[in-house]
């Protein structure tokens, strides 16, 4: 990259979006790991996004697109960051068709804001990622981020039906469409969903929606050890029940809810008679395992799950891992995670989704000195190697820069790496979109 006179960049972006929509220099809170961008830019339209990218492309400025910045900690250390492109001002619901159960929103539209509108039509987007209350829909899609509801409703990938994307050179394209079933041409939605802003900037998203369930309840099964809780989860998974979420939580994760024991939380979202039926069946499983239970319905249930999405705000953390394993290996992965990190995190929280094989561990690192960090990195690499050998993966969602220097946060891509590299070259040949942050530093 040729060095840029900072004020020239600032002048040009102001010419595009106006002075009120540029923060330069960028405040500390917008740092990407240990790098501060030259400026934070808040475009108001996709035309402005395109103009910014044309400028960045011509001058080879590194651009990191963000939604709320909720997941900015996720990624390898950036190679360079010149502009942070915040989609926050682009927050309109462009076209909501309740009769079709579809919506088109701008990328900066928040999940909560849209779900409030959709609730009036008894519809929703069934997503509950960490910090859901801050999530923008564009950010959620760029990260293909999920929470416990993935069990019943899938990931954002499965609900996206169309996108508008501004490519690295400023050309705008549309992918997919506005209908719920579509195989017209290649499904480029899949290319951009989960690509963390490294192939293009998502400016608009079309979703298919779900009817809002009529009733809800959560049954919490408490236990002193993992074994009976995991066994309860397994029985539910192999029964006729259709929980929307199924979550194992350790003492740390349960503490903000005022509980001191491990738990299995089972969420039912269904018609009223089906919720009642399932709660009774789940209670019977608990009785057979001699596990005490607590039942929460409707508002109390919702508020419990909302609290869980905010865990890492309630419990200060600087390290967060996501293990993904075969569902049958969940308990084993929980134990491996505890062994690897149990003594190194305080406070610590662990959540596991036995239906999808996801294990999340987070907390604050206890460190005596710098050597401590490199030994944590070694521990993470060992944990990753163990699970990659069993078809799993380990994603480091958050870590101090000192750890990121020792380790690729994403892990092994496998045999498809050359294809991914070629896609990056084809869509961002000058490497201006979040360079260095994605897998193998793409």
């Amino acid at each position: 990259m040729t060095p840029q006179p900072e004020n020239a960049v600032e002048r040009d972006v102001i010419a595009i979006v106006g002075e009120a929509n540029v923060l330069s220099p960028a405040p500390e809170t917008y740092a990407v790991d240990d790098r501060r961008p030259l400026a934070v830019v808040f475009p108001g339209t996709s035309e402005e996004v395109a103009a910014i990218l044309r400028l960045a492309h011509a001058r080879e400025l590194a651009v990191v697109p963000i939604g709320s910045g909720r997941r900015l900690s996720l990624g390898n250390l950036p190679e360079r960051v010149d502009l942070l492109l915040s989609m926050r001002r682009m927050d309109r619901v462009v076209d909501y068709e309740p009769a079709d159960l579809t919506v088109s929103v701008e990328a900066g539209c928040s999940l909560d804001a849209f779900n409030r509108i959709a609730a009036a039509h008894r519809q929703w987007l069934p997503f509950d990622p960490p910090d859901a209350d801050r999530a923008t829909l564009g950010g959620l899609v760029a990260a293909d981020d999920f929470g416990p509801l993935r069990h019943g409703y899938g990931r954002p990938r499965d609900s996206v039906i169309g996108l508008e994307v501004v490519q690295a050179d400023g050309t705008r394209i549309r992918t997919g469409g506005r209908v719920v079933k579509n195989v017209t041409g290649y499904d480029l939605n899949k290319l951009f969903v989960g690509s963390f802003g490294t192939l293009g900037v998502i400016t608009r998203v079309n979703f298919k929606l779900r009817p809002l369930p009529e009733a809800e309840a959560t049954l919490i099964l408490f236990g002193a050890a993992w074994e009976p809780l995991a066994s309860g989860a397994r029985q539910i998974l192999h029964s006729e029940l259709l929980p929307a979420a199924l979550l194992l939580a350790d003492e740390g994760a349960m503490s903000p809810l005022g509980h001191e024991r491990k738990a299995l939380l089972v969420r039912f979202l269904e018609t009223a008679p089906a919720v009642a039926y399932q709660v009774e069946r789940a209670r019977a499983f608990a009785r057979a395992l001699s596990l005490p239970v607590e039942e929460l319905s409707n508002e109390a249930s919702r508020s419990l799950w909302t609290t869980l999405t905010r865990l890492h705000r309630l419990l200060p953390s600087d390290l967060q891992l996501r293990l993904s394993v075969l569902p049958a290996h969940t308990l084993e992965a929980v134990r491996a995670g505890e062994r690897a990190l149990g003594e190194r995190l305080a406070p610590r929280y662990l959540l596991a989704h036995p239906g999808t094989g996801i294990v999340l561990i987070g907390g604050r690192l206890i460190l005596e000195d710098e050597r401590g960090l490199s030994s944590v990195a070694q521990e993470l690499l060992r944990l990753r190697a163990t699970w990659e050998a069993q078809r799993g993966s380990l994603l480091i969602e958050q870590a101090p820069p000192e750890i990121k220097r020792h380790i690729d946060v994403w892990g092994n891509v496998g045999s498809s790496l050359p294809l991914m590299q070629a896609l990056k070259r084809a869509f961002d040949p000058k490497r201006i979109l979040s360079p260095g942050r994605f897998v193998v530093g793409l």
Binding site: V180, V183, Y186, E214, P273, A276, P327, A328, P429
Partner: protein
């Protein structure tokens, strides 16, 4: 000419060495079977057909063809309906029917690993006793292969609730067009990096050849209820569809058959006792927990009556359910008997537009003097206007093509698209600019060039012309 023949002879000899002489077909008579798929208006005989029996043989065949710059494509059962599995440039077909083993069934992780030639319904049958099924169920599921389903991102009546093939495939082993083998997706756990799995599914055989498929198995629902509602008009049936969706009910299937379809079905071996005096019938299926199914079925019956249903029949047992479904799934076969050729169209509209668009589609058919029957996935707005015609009559063929173009234009105009489950193949290439801009198509071409830089893998499909923009 002479040189061409010699070159051809040399690669054919190489293929024979790999798969054995009897597994390379070159006799024009034998190749006739492979000149089209389920859509008979596109006919292109291949130069040869080979029958590999393993991924390793696929790799070797693809490498030989690449070296000789001979285009190639994979083919399953040839039941596709877009002209996707035909060799337009005199290429070679890799027929994968013999790679039909179910390699692994893992109930604990709810997955199965299969070869691409496994027939869709065979997988469901293999896991049925354990209480599972494979959800995507195209109407051709008794014949179509899972490899073909992956290539087309196949749907079916039940994808209204359960999703398409892309929602049920967890991982793939793929032979790329250059003969390299890669793994896409995970195998039950999440993969790292770009979603190449999602990108590959539905790429219509142009990104490579899947040689191993890991699919999700779904638990059979506790209860299933199938209803048949009969209406005097297509408009009433359409309004009922919209009302069911608007009520927040997600049936597992919501299918419409119009009078022309009913008449054809009732006159055929698929006769299901459908009311031949009805303007349209809806086949509605609800599944899930018994408590929900009962409750929602009662609401659906109410909605049907409120929208003018004359009768709503609730299937009493599995035999009655099976009979209703046999009528629906046999509809294409029944329509196929009426005339020498059948154009099975596929388009999608926003579901609330059904009452407005369907009458317009009938008007288009009438204007061109064509006989049309509609049988389709009404719940997700996926239309299948079928036109009975005689391919030997050039004027009728011209009218079919013009009517199809008008139908496509109409669907796009109301916010819909060209295909919901059959794919673009050869048949819809010309319409692609109706929905995508030059830049959109160019981005697609760039992805294709990443997978197939030489342009040898099922060329001539999906995209209008080869284009690739340099940045």
């Amino acid at each position: 000419m002479c040189e061409g023949t010699l070159r051809m002879a040399s690669w054919i000899a190489e293929l024979r060495e790999i798969v054995g002489s009897e597994d390379v077909l070159t006799d024009p008579e034998q190749l006739l079977v492979y000149e089209c798929d389920g859509l008979s208006i596109h006919k292109h005989p291949p130069a040869a057909v080979v029958f590999p029996e393993s991924a390793e043989e696929v790799v070797r065949v693809v490498k030989v063809l690449g070296r000789h710059r001979v285009p190639f494509l994979a083919r399953g059962a040839g039941t596709g309906l877009s002209g996707g599995a035909v060799a337009v440039e005199g290429g070679v077909i890799l027929e994968l029917a013999r790679m039909n083993r179910i390699l692994e069934i893992d109930y604990e992780n709810r997955l199965a690993v299969v070869e691409p030639g496994v027939i869709n319904l065979m997988l469901t049958r293999a896991v049925a006793d354990a209480g599972y099924f494979y959800a995507p169920d195209p109407s051709s599921q008794m014949a179509c292969t899972l490899g073909g389903n992956v290539a087309e991102n196949a749907g079916g009546p039940h994808c209204l609730k359960y999703g398409m093939t892309v929602h049920h495939v967890l991982g793939l082993e793929v032979v790329l067009p250059n003969g390299e083998m890669v793994t896409l997706g995970g195998h039950g756990a999440d993969a790292v990096g770009y979603d190449l799995l999602g990108l590959f599914i539905g790429s219509e055989g142009t990104f490579g050849i899947a040689t191993k498929i890991t699919v999700r198995l779904t638990r059979q629902p506790q209860a299933v209820k199938t209803l048949l509602a009969d209406f005097l008009s297509v408009e009433e049936a359409s309004r009922t569809v919209s009302a069911i969706i608007a009520a927040g009910i997600l049936p597992s299937a919501l299918e419409m058959m119009d009078r022309a379809t009913i008449e054809a079905v009732e006159a055929s071996v698929y006769a299901a006792g459908l009311p031949t005096d009805a303007g349209a019938v809806l086949l509605i299926e609800l599944d899930g927990l018994a408590a929900s199914v009962e409750y929602e079925a009662a609401r659906v019956v109410e909605i049907c009556h409120a929208n003018g249903a004359r009768r709503v029949l609730v299937a009493r047992d599995d035999a009655e359910r099976a009979r209703l479904w046999a009528g629906r799934k046999g509809a294409f076969g029944a329509l196929g008997r009426i005339s020498p050729d059948l154009m099975v169209q596929d388009a999608v509209i926003p579901r609330s537009a059904l009452p407005e668009v369907l009458p317009e589609i009938y008007r288009i058919a009438a204007r061109y003097g064509l006989r049309m029957a509609n049988v389709f996935h009404a719940g997700d707005g996926n239309l299948h206007p079928n036109i009975c015609f005689d391919g030997r009559d050039p004027d009728e063929v011209r009218r079919v093509k013009e009517a199809c173009r008008e139908i496509m234009q109409l669907c796009v105009r109301v916010g819909g698209t060209l295909t919901g489950e059959h794919g673009v193949g050869l048949d819809k290439i010309a319409y692609m600019p109706l929905v995508f801009t030059e830049d959109d198509l160019e981005a697609m071409a760039r992805v294709r060039a990443v997978f197939d830089p030489e342009g040898l893998c099922n060329p001539g499909k999906v995209l209008p012309v080869r284009r690739c923009r340099a940045f």
